[in-house]
Symmetry: C2
Subunit: 334 residues, 2 copies
C-alpha cells in the first residue's frame, strides 16, 4: 500500500480520502456484495440509495477508530459496511417521514418506488445489518449497536413531538441531535475501539468522541439550512422551517428578539408559511441577533470537546486524520 | 398455581387460555413495564397498538415451546414479550404500507397519529426488542431472531413485487407466507427450545413446527378474506383484492377457470376495481371451482405437518396445548 496511512502526511480531507482509499474501496465492495437478496426490488432500491453520493463518514470513522486503537485485522470493513446499511435504513425511513422527493439532488427512493418500498427496504437493510452484526459474536458490539438504533428512533420521535412548536429548550434540542445523529456515530467509533480490544476508558473516549462529532454535525447542518448557498449544500434552504423543525438558530433568535418579532415568528410557525418572504425575514433576524454565529460556535465547541477525547490515545497519523475529519464535520462545503 | 398447565385437562382453546393465564398475564406486565421511554409519544402510540386486541399467539407459542422442551425458568416471559414487540413493529409498518385505517375494528395508529409516528414507533419497538434480546447473551437467540426479521422484510417486499399481478406461482405465494408470517412464529418456537437447551434436532423440529403453523395461518387468513362473515373476522372482506394482493384462492381459480373468465379476472385486477359487484362475482367463481376449499385444505395440510414435528417430544399437557393451538390457527372464529 504505497498510499497507506503510515506513509501519508495528512494536511486536510484530501489526504484523508487519499490515504484510506484502499479501506474505503473495500467498504464499497462489501456494501455491494451484501446486496444479495433473491428479491430484485430489494437490491434495486438498496443500490439506489446506497449509491446516492453518501460520503461513508461513519465507515471511515469506524475504521480510523479501530486503527487508532491498534487494530490490524480486516473485520472492520464488514462492520463499517453494516453501520452504513443502518444509516441508509434510517435515510429511507426519514425520506418517508419528511415527504422528501430529493436527497443530495437526486430523486429519493420513495419518489421512484413509493413509500411502501422505502419503508420495507429500510426494514430489510436494518435487519440484514443486525444479522451480520450478531455474526461477530461480540456482546459489546451487539449492545453498542442496538442501543444506537433505539436512540436514533427515539431522537426522531422527540423531534416529531416538538414539531411546529418552539417551546423546547436548547438542552432538549441538543438531546435530539445527540440521539438522532450522535448515537450511530458514537457507536461506530466505539465499535472500532472494541474490535481493537481497547480498554474500557478508551472505548468510552471513542464513544464520547463520536457522540460530540455527531451533535456538532447536526447543529452545523441545521444552521447551514438558514445560511448556506443553495448550490453548496445541494438541498433546499429553509427545509427545516417548512417542515416545522425548530433548530438551534431559531431557538436562539426567539430568545433574544423583541416581543413583536417573537409574535410574528410564532405566527409563521403556526400558519406553516415558510414561504420565501418569511424565510428572508427570519434569516435577517438571525443575522441581527447573531444566531447563526452562535449556533456555529456551539458546533465548534462540540468539535473541540471531541478532539479532547482523543487525548486518551498516542499521536499517530490516524489521530491526525480524526482531527481533520472533526473539523470537516462542521465545514460548509460538504 | 391451581390452574397451572400441570393440573389442566386441555380440550380446546378455552382451557389453553385458562391454563396459561398466569404466563400470559406476566407477558402483559412485561410488555407494559418496557414501555418506559422518556418520550411520551413513544409510549402512547406503542400502548395503543399493543393493547389493540392481539391474542399474544407468538408469546404463547414461545412459552409453550420452552415448557414442552423442559424449561422451568422465567426468562421465557421477557423473550416472549420482545417477540410481541417485533410483531407489533411489523403491524405498525404494515398499516402504513397498506394505507390501513382500521385494525381489528379500531382506528390504526397511523389514523390517529399519522404515518410518521407509525413508522418511527415501529422502528423504536423493533430496536428496543433487539436491545433486550442481545441481553440474553445467547448467540442462537440472536441469530434466530435477526434472521426472522430479515425474512419478514423480504416477504413483504416479495409481496409488493407481485402486486397487481397474478402471474406468480402457488410455490411463490407459499414462499411469501413462509417469509412474512412463518419466519417470526418459527423463531418464537425455536427460541423456546433454545431456552430449554434442547438438542439441535428438537430446535429444528420446533422451527419447522412454527413455520408450518405460520404458513397455515396466513393461507387461512387470506382465504377467509373471500369467505368469512364480515362480523366474524372483524375486517373488511375483499381487502387483499382491493390492495392488489394475489392470494391462494385467486391463484387457484385463475388456474381452473375458462379463458373468458380469466380475462375478466385480469381486467378487474388491472383496473383496480375490487368493488362489490366484482367481489361477489369472484367469490361465486371461487365457489364453483372449489378454490376456497382447496386453499383451506392446503392450510390444514400445513397444520398436520406442524403437528408431526411435535413427535420429536414426549406427550405432555404442553404438547396437547400446542396441538389445540395448531387447529385454532386455521379456525374461522378468531
Amino acid at each position: 500500500m504505497p498510499n497507506g496511512p503510515e506513509t501519508c502526511v495528512i494536511e486536510g480531507m484530501r489526504e484523508v480520502w487519499e490515504c484510506y482509499r484502499g479501506e474505503l474501496n473495500a467498504v464499497e465492495d462489501q456494501i455491494r456484495q451484501n446486496l444479495d437478496s433473491k428479491v430484485a426490488l430489494v437490491n434495486t432500491v438498496s443500490a439506489h440509495i446506497l449509491n446516492s453520493g453518501g460520503k461513508r463518514i461513519r465507515p471511515l470513522l469506524l475504521i480510523l477508530s479501530a486503527r487508532l486503537a491498534g487494530y490490524n485485522g480486516s473485520h472492520d470493513i464488514l462492520l463499517a459496511s453494516m453501520v452504513e446499511y443502518i444509516h441508509t435504513a434510517t435515510l429511507l425511513h426519514d425520506d418517508v417521514v419528511d415527504h422528501a422527493d430529493l436527497r443530495r439532488g437526486k430523486t429519493t427512493a420513495r419518489g421512484l418506488w413509493g413509500n411502501q418500498a422505502s419503508i420495507l427496504v429500510g426494514d430489510y437493510l436494518y435487519s440484514k445489518a443486525i444479522c451480520h452484526i450478531v455474526g461477530f459474536h461480540n456482546q459489546d458490539v451487539n449492545e453498542c449497536l442496538s442501543m444506537a438504533c433505539r436512540k436514533m428512533a427515539e431522537g426522531e420521535l422527540m423531534q416529531l413531538s416538538y414539531k411546529d412548536q418552539a417551546n423546547h429548550s436548547e438542552r432538549e434540542y441538543l438531546k435530539i441531535a445527540e440521539h438522532k445523529t450522535g448515537a450511530l456515530i458514537a457507536a461506530a467509533c466505539r465499535m472500532g475501539a472494541v474490535l481493537a480490544d481497547a480498554d474500557p476508558l478508551q472505548r468510552d473516549a471513542m464513544f464520547r468522541f463520536g457522540q460530540a462529532l455527531g451533535v456538532a454535525f447536526q447543529v452545523a447542518d441545521d444552521t447551514l439550512d438558514y445560511a448556506a448557498q443553495r448550490e453548496v449544500l445541494g438541498k433546499l434552504l429553509g427545509k427545516d422551517l417548512g417542515e416545522g423543525n425548530v433548530t438551534l438558530p431559531l431557538l436562539h433568535v426567539k430568545q433574544y428578539c423583541t416581543e413583536s418579532e417573537r409574535q410574528r415568528l410564532a405566527e409563521i410557525m403556526e400558519t406553516d408559511e415558510g414561504g420565501d418572504g418569511n424565510f428572508v425575514w427570519i434569516t435577517a433576524l438571525m443575522e441581527r441577533y447573531g444566531s447563526i454565529d452562535y449556533a456555529l460556535a456551539t458546533a465548534r465547541r462540540y468539535i473541540e470537546d471531541a478532539k479532547g477525547c482523543l487525548d486518551a490515545f498516542e499521536d499517530s497519523s490516524h489521530k491526525r486524520a480524526l482531527h481533520v475529519i472533526a473539523d470537516y464535520m462542521v465545514a460548509r462545503d460538504h
